[in-house]
């Protein structure tokens, strides 16, 4: 299980404070969405989780151990663009993770090992609905297919944490719905936590177990340089979603938060405490 702890993290670029005093505990198997206006440092925060950037102050731990100062296979990533390798086929893109991990100096697998890796890759590609396009190159795929490929590619490395940087932002609304369904299914099936940056609030509430909003508490022109953004809202999504249990919270007896109150004896979260 993967607990992410962020302890008093600050990020400054020279004089400019971007993020200040970020404290966060992310429970194992969470799906956290980071939202906020552009320029509020949510992507910077994701990059620090990825070790693409280092905090100026503070530390980030996974299961109590400070994260490595460079990106590694414990943390997978899908970017909005350029996540897949244009010179490899769909199958090659997914195989790459297995080959880099077990392929030694050449970074390639042969014989039985390759066959096993290939089976695993095909299974993943099947799960994301790309098994019909194994030999195609990414440039021949649509944007939605490329992002599904990027997900399969990240998952073969079995990351503890999957980081998503506006992964569905460039997709058409219809395709985005399909990819959302896929994303939720993958989160249920793979033992990982997910941290996703998005500017789309409905996407955040649609997918996540917890939505965290970044914003500047002080935003006057003269304050902007020395005061960075911090966490302004930390919302648990209701009804609760539980990883590995897609049907949790969908029981008809449990009213949704915005449903009219029902007199069936099930108190909702926002109901006044029962005096009796």
């Amino acid at each position: 299980m993967t607990q992410i702890s962020v302890r008093n993290v600050w990020k400054e670029y020279g004089e400019q404070v971007v993020l200040e005093q970020i404290n966060l505990e992310i429970a194992p198997r969470s799906f956290v969405a980071l939202v906020g206006p552009s320029g509020c440092g949510k992507t910077t925060f994701l990059r620090m989780l990825l070790s693409q950037e280092t905090p100026t102050k503070g530390e980030i731990l996974i299961d109590g151990i400070p994260i490595s100062p460079e990106p590694g296979p414990d943390r997978g990533v899908v970017f909005q663009r350029y996540s897949v390798f244009p010179h490899l086929t769909v199958l090659g893109n997914v195989l790459l993770g297995a080959e880099l991990k077990g392929g030694g100096v050449l970074g390639r697998l042969f014989g039985t090992a390759r066959r096993q890796a290939k089976e695993e890759a095909v299974k993943l590609l099947d799960a994301v609905g790309l098994s019909h396009a194994l030999e195609k190159y990414p440039a021949q795929l649509s944007g939605g297919m490329q992002q599904r490929l990027a997900l399969a590619q990240a998952l073969i490395a079995k990351p503890k944490v999957l980081l998503l940087d506006e992964p569905f932002g460039a997709l058409d609304p219809g395709i985005r719905g399909d990819v959302h369904k896929l994303m939720r299914q993958l989160w249920h099936e793979h033992p990982m936590s997910v941290v996703m940056v998005t500017h789309d609030l409905s996407e955040a509430f649609h997918l996540a177990t917890r939505v965290i909003a970044f914003d500047r508490r002080r935003n006057l022109p003269e304050e902007r340089l020395r005061y960075g953004a911090s966490i302004t809202n930390d919302i648990e999504v209701w009804p609760r979603r539980v990883a590995g249990n897609p049907d949790f919270g969908k029981e008809p007896t449990l009213p949704r938060r915005d449903d009219p109150a029902q007199a069936d004896g099930h108190p909702d979260r926002d109901d006044p405490a029962d005096a009796a």
């Binding site: 990106p71 590694g72 296979p73 996540s83 010179h87 021949q140």
Partner: protein, 273 residues
């Protein structure tokens, strides 16, 4: 319709493309006819028969003194030098460009030096090469390498910079180390771009080759045209120039075909980037 929206159809396109070539040929034929009418033994703009004679002499008849067929001897000699020079420059450029493009320590060490080295006019170094490595094959090949290598290195470094950062990060999250990242992610994407670089450097490479051959050589296309210049032998020089142009064109075409065959993904990827 605006001029920018008017397009020739296929036939007119080909006619238009052929037009400049035809104009040059007609201008030559006219000039030649005028001069030959005045002086039948004019050497500056020889007529068709002189060309046929010269081509027959150079390309199909063994030389009286040596028994070699001169055009083929010259072609083989020049191409060997050119290919050796370009191959060495390409291998070196790939190695250094890859190392400097990926490893900040190597870049810090080499990038400024390569930038300065690429500013040295290669032909100005030619006398030094003749003194240091002698007048043989080595000096000509070295000149090509000296002229082409720094450009290739700089170009490849820039092209590695152009690869999206996300790819390098992504490869690391898939478990790549510096070496496997270089050979599995960067090298395969740089090879087709190396072919582009070589194509652009074919012209300079020929320039260096012909210059070196003109100054000190015993065979080669450049040697021959500078040799027969002494006799104003335009009937030999012009076919040689056309032949060199054709060789250059074919090498360019060959590289383009190689790029398309060996890297089928490249064209689409470039178009969608």
């Amino acid at each position: 319709m605006r001029l920018i929206n008017r397009r020739p159809d296929r036939t007119s396109w080909m006619l238009l493309a052929a037009l400049p070539f035809l104009l040059v040929l007609i201008a030559y034929a006219l000039g030649s006819a005028v001069r030959l009418a005045e002086n039948p033994s004019d050497k500056l703009l020889p007529g068709l028969t002189s060309f046929v004679d010269a081509i027959d002499r150079m390309a199909f008849t063994p030389d009286k003194r040596t028994g070699d067929i001169l055009l083929w001897l010259d072609t083989a000699t020049s191409l060997a030098r050119l290919v050796a020079g370009i191959a060495i420059a390409a291998a070196g450029g790939l190695l250094v460009g890859l190392a400097a493009g990926l490893l900040p320590y190597v870049r810090a060490t080499l990038a400024p030096f390569v930038t300065v080295a690429s500013m040295v006019p290669p032909l100005a170094v030619l006398p030094i090469l003749f003194i240091v490595v002698g007048l043989g094959e080595a000096s000509k090949i070295t000149l090509i390498v000296v002229g082409v290598l720094p450009c290739l290195i700089r170009d490849l470094m820039l092209k590695i910079d152009d690869l999206p950062r996300q790819q390098l990060i992504k490869a690391q999250t898939l478990g790549a180390n510096s070496w496997t990242l270089a050979i599995r992610v960067v090298l395969p994407q740089i090879l087709p771009r190396l072919i582009d670089s070589i194509r652009l450097n074919l012209g300079p490479a020929w320039l260096f080759l012909i210059s070196a051959e003109a100054i000190a050589s015993e065979a080669g296309l450049g040697y021959r045209i500078f040799l027969v210049r002494r006799y104003l032998a335009m009937d030999v020089i012009l076919p040689y120039v056309a032949w060199i142009t054709l060789l250059c064109f074919l090498m360019d075409l060959g590289l383009r075909v190689l790029q398309r065959r060996a890297f089928p993904w490249f064209e689409d990827a470039r178009a969608s980037a």
